[in-house]
């Protein structure tokens, strides 16, 4: 910080709205790719668990271990293989979503009452119809809850992905704010990350409420 410069300069923020928008865009793109990829993989794993319940333990163990590795280490670990690339960042980010998403999807599916499943079988649903028309809709609130946690976590982690050159809001916080000793950028970056997380979280909640009007009656 240079002498006589104010700690926070609103002018800078207003002058750089374009850059800010660009960084938000980058940040969200990396986040969405990670959550979508993580969801697709987790969904597949959860369906495997639905069919072969004994897979659940090993899958949870592996994804749990992945979750426990410090994020920076995980980013760095893959650099020798995949370089300073989006792929490296996504591999790390997706690994973090797995434990959250698999657990919530499996819990959601297992939470479907046994009598509901028996009624569905007795009325002549095929296995696939039962999954898509009965079990998944009923599991939806818990699945969306998992997606919310995974998304908010990922938005935070993407900030760190800037260390391997992924841009995003982390670029403001670290590259401009810290390295160029310009606190305004750091503060702005952090504030926008928090704001973004909150908006996305509430947005997903609103979507879930819309999709599951029936859950309201039971406080879901």
């Amino acid at each position: 910080m240079t002498e006589g410069q104010p700690f926070f300069q609103l002018d800078w923020v207003l002058d750089n709205l374009d850059t800010l928008a660009q960084r938000i865009g980058e940040h969200m793109l990396v986040t969405v790719i990670a959550v979508v990829a993580g969801f697709v993989i987790s969904f597949g794993l959860a369906l495997a668990v639905r069919r072969y319940p004994r897979l659940y333990g090993p899958i949870l163990a592996v994804s749990g271990v992945l979750y426990a590795v410090p994020s920076i280490a995980l980013f760095v670990l893959f650099i020798p293989i995949t370089g300073l690339s989006l792929l490296t960042a996504e591999i790390a980010l997706v690994s973090y979503t797995l434990v959250i998403l698999v657990r919530n999807i499996v819990t959601g599916l297992r939470g479907v009452p046994a009598d509901v499943i028996e009624a569905a079988r007795g009325m002549g649903y095929t296995d696939r119809q039962r999954l898509w028309r009965v079990e998944l809709p009923i599991a939806l609130p818990i699945i969306v809850a998992g997606v919310r946690i995974a998304t908010v976590t990922t938005i935070g982690l993407v900030t760190i992905a800037t260390l391997i050159g992924m841009g995003g809001l982390g670029y403001l916080i670290v590259n401009i704010g810290v390295q160029q000793r310009f606190p305004t950028a750091t503060i702005t970056g952090v504030a926008v990350v928090v704001l973004l997380s909150t908006i996305v979280d509430l947005g997903l909640l609103a979507v879930q409420r819309r999709l599951t009007p029936w859950a309201k009656a039971r406080g879901g």
Binding site: P113, D115, V116, I117, E118, A119, A120, R121, G122, M123, G124, Y125, T126, Q129, V134, P137, I138, L140, T212, P213, W214, A215, A217, R218
Partner: protein, 379 residues
Amino acid sequence: MSSSAAVVRLEHVGKRYGSEGGPEAVSDLSLEIPAGEICVLVGPSGCGKTTTMKMINRLIEPTSGRITIDGEDVMALPAVELRRRIGYVIQQVGLFPHLTVAQNVAVVPRLLRWPEARVRERTSELLDLVRLQPSTYGDRYPAALSGGERQRVGVARALAADPPLMLMDEPFGAVDPILRDRLQNEFLRLQAQVRKTIVFVTHDVDEAIKMADRIAILQKGGVLAQYDTPDAILAAPASDFVAHFVGADRGLKRLSLGRVRDLELGKPVTARAGEPRAELRRRLDEAATDYVLLLDEKDRPLGWIGRGDLSGDGAVGVDDAIPGSPTLEPESTLRDALSVMLGSSVQLGVVVDDDERVLGVVSVDAISEVLRTPTTRPT
């Protein structure tokens, strides 16, 4: 299968769990369930009654024997197609919480890809049938319903595609006794309209006696102990097991099956206010009985007058009658009739019609006569 009611036949059906030599849940069971009847499978736990029922819609596959519905082997169809043709009601109802009442009822028609207009029409028809106003209840979610309402929706849902056969697994087992009684009565009224073939599982003998046209009593290992009408089973249990299972009060249970209208009514000696006592004494002597029934001008009973109160001269009046003589209706059960008679001073029950006019009388003797003669259940 026709869409009205189906004949279900079980031929030497068995279910063995595990490999050869494993325990048999059901063994060599043969039953024929006539179209349009309620067949109740009843027995202690472990008797294979639920297993037997679930083999009909192949939620459990039999290991031996053959099950046919209207002559068609259940194994001839893919299981899901078979199940869509059979109504299914379970104890916890199993309504889909994410679907409205109307959508729940429409499940099977939609699986069968009925045109949307027909689905809607059928849905409201069924809600009306189970006495739930479609405009009030159609858009509600199951979480907003009472236990009784949920059970009714479950029955409507099972009837949706007009199946010729319904399977009901302890459908009224999870509700309190008062509600259960009401739901049972409602269901019997409904069945009188729709006349489906129904396989009904319960562990409750009284429910079985009340609901059944025919009862199949199973004992451990899925062995058929007796298969007959409730009246015949109560009148003549086939074994000690059956006698014990239906209970020591089976005589009284039989009485609750019979109705006053099934009895031949006796003709009472009658009188009207103002008739001379001497004349009434003469009538009692002629009929060799001790009580005369006083009627009003519209043939409605005012009460009994005993021989002891007819001494002397003059005319009888309303004041001479023993007040509070209870009356019975043709629809009263024999059990209720007996109870009323035992509680009154004159052990004769006066049966009246809808306008309270006297139809005749029943005596305690007439009722005990019923218990001595094993007859089939009057319908």
